[in-house]
């Protein structure tokens, strides 16, 4: 800030005040010297004295300088008239001199103004430039001039910068050295990227261009590229991390444009057998097995449609070596370089599929073997059962005594049991192979239950309480549903405690989607641990089968469970130890579609 002086309420800058004193004293001195010279009639009169205040004033204040030149001209003219009148020559000469004062003042004012305008123009460019501009001495690196942009960029004030050396601006000595090498080449350099240090010591990226103004001064323009550099660094950093993630991923990751590979990770290379370079530009569709190509085409066709969830599908691929491998593909749409692209994950499930197939084959072989064994067991039983039946049919004609008949009856009973067990085993193997279909018909539930009770003679073994609406009809496979009820009632009778009691209750309601038939006993109950095992033949079938007369609860319960599942229903069990168990058959009122038969 300039110092100011206050005179009678006017504020005048210190510089202006000093200039005013100088101009006034020079003017008064010139007038005084000229007046004395004229009064003394000195030989030489020096009107040139007036040029000092006129030139000085005009240089700094053009308009006022012209006015001053006019005043000086008039004063000089007056002095000459007063002293030398009527010397005509002297009068003409003084008039010319006064005019010359004004002309010189005008000329000086004109040129000074021109210089001012031009300087102002450059100054405004310098100060208002969006670029940072620094002028520095190329020998001593002192900064001659720096604009506000440079100061703002680095967090200094213009005064701070002006006191620094240009070489102090660099972030490191290496960068400084690089700059000196370029500067030393003597050429004008454009786009030299380097890093300055801010006032707080942070690195700040800049782009320098410089040119020499004269032998010592270099003008350097500075473009702020810090934000851009930072963005590049972040991008480079995230791409490094991305690369690390994809390279260490065990699943194949591929970036595609349509089905063309733009990027593939090492796991995909391993999967496909093609090297990382070979993968690039390949079409995924080329590697798809011919049989799967149509399906793949449909799958890939949907890639261009934005979807909220990744699309997923399994395909077989041919590797470079010609092997067939399976993979599940997950497709996610992404954007790459502002263009739509796809991120495809390959999850190799070749081994998994092989295991699954092997397990299926093993299961199928087991079923086959079970059928063969059962067939071989059944055939030789026929003569045994047949001849025993024959003998018991007409014992007297074969001369059989009562005692022998009793023995033969026991044999026949055992053979019959054996037959039942084998039949159940076979039935289960057929059910597991899912080769069974149902014969649906509509029949009365009450009628069916009564027939089962009568057929099994259960009324003689326990008290049976039936509570089923008389007009209730069901659509189901009558034979199989009878079997289910038979198994559950037989089971209840076997396990209930004297006095044995069985409740058979229909628990459906018109609005409920399932028919529910509950079979309750007052038996020993089933513990939590046993609950899981009762429908499993390999666990439940081995216990207590000898005294059942029904093959064993495990096998028959397992068959019953399968039958209910074929109907699209299920069996639930509620049991309290020493109070009793309730088995509830749930059969849907609406007949399931074929496809739903085996899904439970």
């Amino acid at each position: 800030m300039e110092r100011q002086i206050s005179i009678r309420g006017y504020r005048v800058s210190h510089t202006d005040f000093v200039r005013f004193i100088v101009i006034a004293s020079l003017t008064l001195s010139s007038i005084l010297i000229t007046a004395i010279a004229l009064v003394r009639n000195a030989e030489a009169i020096y009107p040139q004295l007036f040029y000092f205040p006129i030139l000085y004033a005009t240089y700094f204040y053009p308009k006022r300088g012209i006015i001053l030149s006019g005043i000086c001209g008039v004063v000089y003219e007056c002095l000459v008239y007063f002293s030398l009148f009527p010397d005509t020559l002297a009068l003409w000469s003084s008039t010319g001199q006064a005019i010359l004062f004004i002309c010189v003042a005008l000329a000086v004012a004109y040129f000074t103004n021109m210089i001012r305008v031009s300087e102002a123009r450059y100054r405004s460019i310098f100060e208002n430039s969006l670029l940072g501009v620094i002028l520095f001495d190329k020998n001593r690196f002192t900064i001659r001039l720096a604009n506000q942009q440079v100061a703002t960029m680095l967090g200094y004030t213009v005064e701070d910068i002006s006191r620094m050396a240009f070489s102090d601006l660099f972030f490191s000595h290496d960068l400084q050295r690089q700059f000196f090498e370029h500067l030393g080449s003597g050429q004008n350099i454009r786009n030299f990227e380097t890093c300055f240090a801010t006032k707080t010591g942070e690195p700040h990226w800049v782009n320098l261009s410089w040119s020499r103004i004269d032998d010592t001064i270099v003008s350097c323009s500075i473009i702020d590229i810090n934000a851009e550099k930072r963005a590049q660094e972040i991008a480079a950093d995230s791409s490094t991390r991305y690369q690390q993630v994809t390279e260490s991923s065990p699943t194949g990751i591929v970036i595609t444009e349509h089905t063309k590979i733009l990027f593939a990770n090492p796991a995909f290379s391993t999967f496909s057998g093609y090297g990382p370079e070979e993968c690039l530009g390949r079409d995924i569709a080329e590697s798809v097995l011919d049989d799967d190509k149509d399906r793949f085409g449909t799958f890939a066709g949907r890639w261009d449609i934005p979807a909220p969830v990744p699309a997923r599908s399994e395909f077989r691929f041919i590797t470079k070596k010609g092997e067939i491998r399976r993979a599940v593909l997950y497709f996610t749409p992404i954007t790459r370089n502002n263009r739509p692209a796809g991120l495809v994950n390959f999850v190799d499930n070749t081994e998994w599929e092989e295991y699954r197939e092997r397990i299926e084959q093993t299961k199928e072989r087991r079923r086959e073997m079970m059928r063969a064994v059962a067939h071989e067991l059944r055939t030789p039983l026929q003569p045994v059962l047949g001849y025993l039946n024959l003998l018991l049919q007409d014992p007297q004609s074969f001369g059989i005594t009562d005692e022998t008949r009793q023995i033969l009856e026991r044999c026949a009973k055992s053979v019959d049991q054996e037959r039942q067990i084998i039949n159940q085993m076979l039935e289960l193997s057929v059910l597991e192979g899912e080769e069974t279909s149902l014969d649906y018909s509509v029949f009365s539930v009450g009628g069916m239950v009564n027939a089962v009770i009568a057929g099994g003679g259960y009324a003689l073994k326990a008290e049976i309480a039936i509570d089923i609406p008389a007009d209730l009809l069901i659509e189901a496979d009558r034979q199989k549903l009878s079997y289910i009820v038979d198994v559950l009632v037989a089971n209840g009778v076997s396990y209930s405690k004297p006095p044995k009691k069985i409740w058979i209750t229909y628990r459906g309601s018109p609005s409920h989607p399932f028919h529910r038939l509950a079979i309750q006993d007052n038996g020993v109950g089933i513990t939590e641990a046993q609950l899981d095992a009762i429908f499993k033949p390999e666990e439940g079938g081995s216990t207590g089968s000898s005294n059942q007369g029904f093959g064993g609860p495990g096998l028959s319960l397992a068959i019953a469970k399968k039958y209910v599942q074929l109907h699209g229903g299920y069996i639930s069990v509620d049991s309290i130890v020493n109070i009793g168990s309730t088995f509830t058959i749930h059969i849907p009122k609406k007949r399931p579609d074929k496809a739903n038969h085996h899904d439970t």
Partner: protein, 121 residues
Amino acid sequence: MIRKIVVIEDDQPILDLMGILLKKLGYEPVLIANGLDALTSVRADPPALILLDIMMSPLSGWEFLERLRTECNLREIPVILFTASPTVPERMKQLNDPRLGILQKPVTFDELRTALAQFLD
């Protein structure tokens, strides 16, 4: 009139048993151990019913049945499949033939009587 029943069965003990049981039930059994001979016999003298084993060679029970059903004078003869194989019932169900019955080995005397009565009475 005593009705004739042809038993086609490659297991000799069972064949013998069936002979005895059928006689006991009052039928006239014709016992044949293989399908080709049976075809000749049935053509020569059509029986009232055929008890047919399935797992036989050279002609299996299914093949025999197929040929039988193509011949117009034999087509109407009721056939009871007499088998120990667990997959037969499902296949039989698919044929949906009212002149076809099934007896799963081993059968009791009562089961045999009921099955025969169903077709012959």
